[in-house]
């Protein structure tokens, strides 16, 4: 599998504070990767760097083997979609209008939307189960539905990679599971590369192919759920004595001592 993102000796500083330090990491195409770590460990910053929202202080990021910064803005947006942690209010846009904006990278400021665009928009809405809501204002939806509307926008963008910053932090358990299941399913169907910042390590282990943990801006653990779901490793990530049970193959439960 080719490497989608290749991060080498990445440094990010804000003022005198080092947020990320000498990070070397590759994200493989078609894999769902969870970024773990406690608050302030640099997960969101890493995601922002990958989404080109934040310029690294030093170090290199490559997108599919090509230098990262030289790609044009819309060209980049056709490859990488990013969902910020707190999507802003959409000021009266309906779901369908929001999703339609996802076609911007393909059509630009003046290009006409053709049938294909409309089909993709409809498809994205169907895929996220928002068919009945498509003419409702996004602001009137519940938290989970709103999150799905934004994910639908990313889907209409037809990118090969999704970067999701804590997409489930404001949702209840049911919606958390639904959203992650949706992401997982879409990743499989469309062979997407997904990098998602998560707080819940159990859900991460359940729905992701690979777990990457940061601590103080450095890599502390990287591997499959089977590797990471280990009392010692979790303890080193979270600095809390933890234990892990495997209830069934591929289903772990972690707990705090």
């Amino acid at each position: 599998m080719p490497v989608f993102f290749d991060v080498s000796s990445l440094d990010v500083r804000i003022g005198d504070t080092a947020i990320l330090h000498d990070l070397n990491l590759g994200f493989v195409e078609g894999e769902v990767t969870a970024l773990l770590g406690h608050n302030g460990s640099g997960k969101s910053t890493l995601l922002k760097v990958l989404a080109r929202q934040l310029a690294p202080t030093s170090g290199k990021v490559q997108l599919l083997g090509r230098p990262f910064q030289s790609t044009g803005a819309r060209e980049f947006a056709r490859h990488v979609g990013y969902l910020p942690q707190h999507p802003p209010g959409t000021d009266g846009l309906t779901v369908r209008e929001l999703v339609a904006l996802g076609r911007y990278p393909w059509r630009g400021p003046l290009g006409r939307y053709n049938d294909e665009d409309h089909r993709l928009i409809t498809q994205a809405i169907e895929d996220t189960g928002l068919g009945l809501f498509q003419h409702r204002s996004v602001d009137t939806l519940s938290g989970g539905e709103r999150q799905r509307a934004w994910i639908a926008m990313l889907l209409a963008q037809q990118t090969r990679c999704l970067l999701l910053d804590e997409p489930i932090s404001a949702l209840d358990v049911k919606h958390q599971v639904e959203t992650l299941r949706l992401v997982h399913r879409l990743a499989q169907q469309r062979d997407l590369t997904v990098v998602v910042v998560l707080h819940d390590v159990d859900l991460a282990a359940r729905f992701c192919d690979r777990l990457v943990a940061l601590k103080s801006g450095q890599l502390v653990a990287d591997g499959s759920p089977r590797d990471i779901m280990d009392a010692g490793i979790l303890e080193s990530i979270y600095d809390v004595p933890m234990g892990v049970m495997e209830r069934a193959p591929g289903q772990w439960v972690s707990y705090v001592h």
């Binding site: 989404a51 080109r52 819309r74 910020p84 802003p88």
Partner: protein, 676 residues
């Protein structure tokens, strides 16, 4: 796999009927009102035909063709252009109070014309357009240069725009006070007059408005993407900075072109998009279309009202700018009630105001400022220019100079302290570092009352003025707090409310200015803080008052630290929120009013002093209060001294100088802040 939606899906939302109905009503009403005086002289057909032809034999018909019809046409055209420009501006900055007026474009154009009138009159004859566009570009260029590094974050842009507006306004006033005889008719121009006597201006203008309008519409899709906030817009591949730059440039061209023809027609560009949105224009396309239509209707209405007021009044000219302001103010206030979701406007999350400089010792900083203040006091009392050269007055002779230099200096320093305290209070109460008596229109509220007093011709003495001004300030602040409460003091709401009050003050001012005469110059002197009006007893009275309030403030330090945590947290900590808020409100109003009476409403001290205190590392309430008060006193003390000596033997109002210096400081601080 998803839970079945509990409710039925809704069909495609349609445009609410009230929007076209309201627009039609405004248009018909304005057109009928405008045509009414002519209907007696001409029949309807002839009147409408006046737009393209006239009968040479009928004087009324000629008059209608060359005066009434172009005036209506130009009002419609300009309103349309400004409405569109306003809607685009609001979309770019994701901010319901953005408009060409609030971004400083109009003030810049006016500034350009002033400078040209004074120094390059030939240029003005060559092309007033060029001068106005240059001025407008200068203003917005200043705004852009200051906010460039912040990626044009909306709140900063508005803030810089307001400061540039005030600053250029102050420079304008300085010209006026020094060279008033040359700039007399600029007042009327500055207030916006749509009177026409032929079709040339209209013919000149419409192609430009059309071209600019089409260009703006072409930018629609990128603008729509901006609605998703900076992060998402960028991740969709939109070049956020470039789009904003381009759209702002078009807005400047549009408003400066319009403004160079008819002067400052403020607030149409603000009110039209706000109204369109309130009436239910939802998507960007709808907002653009309906803002243009509403802008036309509103301006026609305002112009007709101005025309009527001029005719029916005692012959004094009522400029259109006044009536647009009178229409704009209430619309903004309504908007404050009706706009939901604005505390969640796109782009707000990436504001850069939350910086925390290193804490420093209050004693050192406060001591340093106190020493500077002392030096200022001594210098101001002793070192002054005489008829031949500068002389030093020894302390033994101070009692002779006191009557000339003492009271005004004391009053200026005290006013500065009051503003510093009031600014800190208001910033803490609202939890918003951009809040200040000036920006929130609390000084404006005091000024409205003062303008009304001047307009009514009543002479009520200093104490009466203080009382009235306090009332005005308290009403303004109370109103703001009441209005903004349900939005939890989100910055936009407060600024919007303050702006509405500023609009009212502005309307009154324009009216007074356009009427000219001694009233105007008296008001002008007061507005810009002529400290020489202060007598000794007044200065001492002020001293007592400020000391009293400062003592009361000691009791409020802790409540003030708790209030920004929010009402719920504050009351669960056992704070009687309503009572405390009322007390603080009264204190802030009293402080602002007492300062406004002395120094006028337009100095930046209330904004700068608390800001300065924060930058100097005073983060807790008590420390910030002390240092802000000292810094405010220092600023106005220096301003008072300079105002006495820079154009000696003439005088400048101290408030004007404070506004100039303060404006510069603030602009500098803003740009430095961006670099940090």
């Amino acid at each position: 796999m998803f839970a079945e939606p509990s409710e039925r899906g809704v069909s495609q939302p349609t445009l609410p009927a009230r929007l076209p109905v309201a627009v039609a009503l405004i248009w018909c009403g304005a057109f009928l009102a405008s045509a009414a005086p002519w209907l007696g002289q001409l029949d309807t057909g002839t009147l409408i035909a006046a737009f393209w032809t006239f009968e040479a034999s009928d004087y009324a018909s000629v008059l209608a063709h060359y005066s009434w019809a172009p005036r209506v046409a130009i009002a419609v055209l300009i309103g349309c252009g400004l409405g569109l420009a306003g809607a685009v501006t609001q979309q770019i900055l994701g901010n319901p109070l953005a408009s060409p007026s609030t971004l400083g474009v109009e003030a810049g154009s006016q500034f350009g014309i002033s400078v040209a009138t004074l120094f390059f009159p030939g240029l003005l004859a060559f092309s007033p357009d060029l001068v106005a566009v240059t001025g407008g570009l200068l203003a917005i260029g200043l705004v852009i240069a200051l906010t460039w590094r912040l990626g044009f974050s909306p709140v900063t842009v508005i803030l810089a725009g307001l400061v540039v507006t005030f600053f250029l306004g102050a420079v304008n006033m300085a010209f006026l006070l020094l060279k008033g005889e040359w700039l007399g008719n600029l007042f009327i121009w500055g207030a916006g007059s749509l009177a026409q006597n032929n079709w040339h201006p209209f013919m000149d203008l419409w192609p430009r408005v059309l071209v600019l309008g089409v260009l703006m519409v072409l930018l629609m899709r990128p603008l729509q993407v901006m609605q998703l906030g900076q992060a998402s817009a960028r991740s969709l591949g939109a070049k956020v900075g470039l789009i904003r730059l381009l759209a702002l440039f078009l807005v400047v061209l549009m408003s400066a072109t319009v403004v160079s023809r008819v002067g400052v027609v403020a607030f149409i560009g603000l009110a039209a998009p706000v109204l369109a949105r309130l009436l239910g224009a939802r998507t960007l396309l709808q907002r653009l279309i309906w803002s243009s239509l509403l802008g036309s209707g509103l301006l026609l209405l305002a112009d007709t009202a101005a025309h009527w007021a001029s005719t029916w009044g005692d012959g004094s000219l009522v400029p259109t700018g006044t009536t647009t302001a009178l229409i704009g103010g209430p619309i903004i206030l309504i908007a404050l009630q009706g706009l939901k979701n604005t505390h969640h406007m796109p782009g707000q999350d990436d504001s850069h105001t939350g910086f925390l400089p290193k804490r420093r010792s209050t004693l050192a900083i406060g001591g340093a400022i106190a020493v500077l203040l002392l030096i200022t006091l001594v210098t101001s009392m002793s070192w002054s220019p005489g008829l031949t050269d500068w002389s030093w007055t020894p302390i033994a002779q101070w009692h002779e100079a006191w009557i000339w230099r003492g009271p005004r200096l004391l009053a200026a320093v005290l006013a500065g302290m009051a503003l510093g305290l009031a600014g800190t209070l208001i910033q803490r109460m609202t939890g918003n570092v951009m809040a200040s008596p000036e920006m929130l229109g609390i000084s404006g509220g005091a000024a409205v009352v003062m303008v009304l007093i001047v307009l009514s011709g009543a002479d009520i003495g200093r104490a009466g003025q203080l009382g009235a001004a306090t009332l005005g300030a308290a009403t303004a602040l109370g109103l703001l707090i009441l209005l903004a409460r349900r939005h939890r003091f989100a910055g936009n709401q407060l600024l919007l409310g303050g702006l509405a009050l500023y609009v009212f003050m502005d309307a009154g001012l324009r009216l007074v200015m356009a009427s000219g005469g001694t009233v105007a110059s008296r008001l002008l002197n007061w507005m810009y803080g002529a400290t020489w009006l202060v007598s000794e007893t007044e200065a001492l009275g002020l001293l007592g008052l400020i000391l009293l309030i400062a003592a009361t403030l000691l009791l409020t330090v802790r409540p003030l630290s708790i209030l920004p945590l929010g009402e719920t947290s504050a009351s669960s900590l056992g704070l009687p929120v309503a009572k405390v808020r009322l007390l603080l409100l009264l204190l802030a109003a009293l402080l602002t009013a007492s300062a406004t009476v002395v120094i006028g409403p337009l100095s930046f001290v209330g904004l700068i002093a608390p800001h300065l205190a924060r930058v100097l590392g005073q983060q807790t309430v008590g420390r910030q209060l002390i240092v802000a008060a000292l810094a405010g006193g220092l600023l106005l003390g220096i301003a008072d001294y300079l105002s006495r000596i820079v154009v000696y033997p003439n005088q400048l109002p101290a408030g004007l100088l404070a506004a100039l210096v303060g404006g510069l400081y603030f602009l500098w601080g803003l740009s430095r802040h961006g670099r940090a």
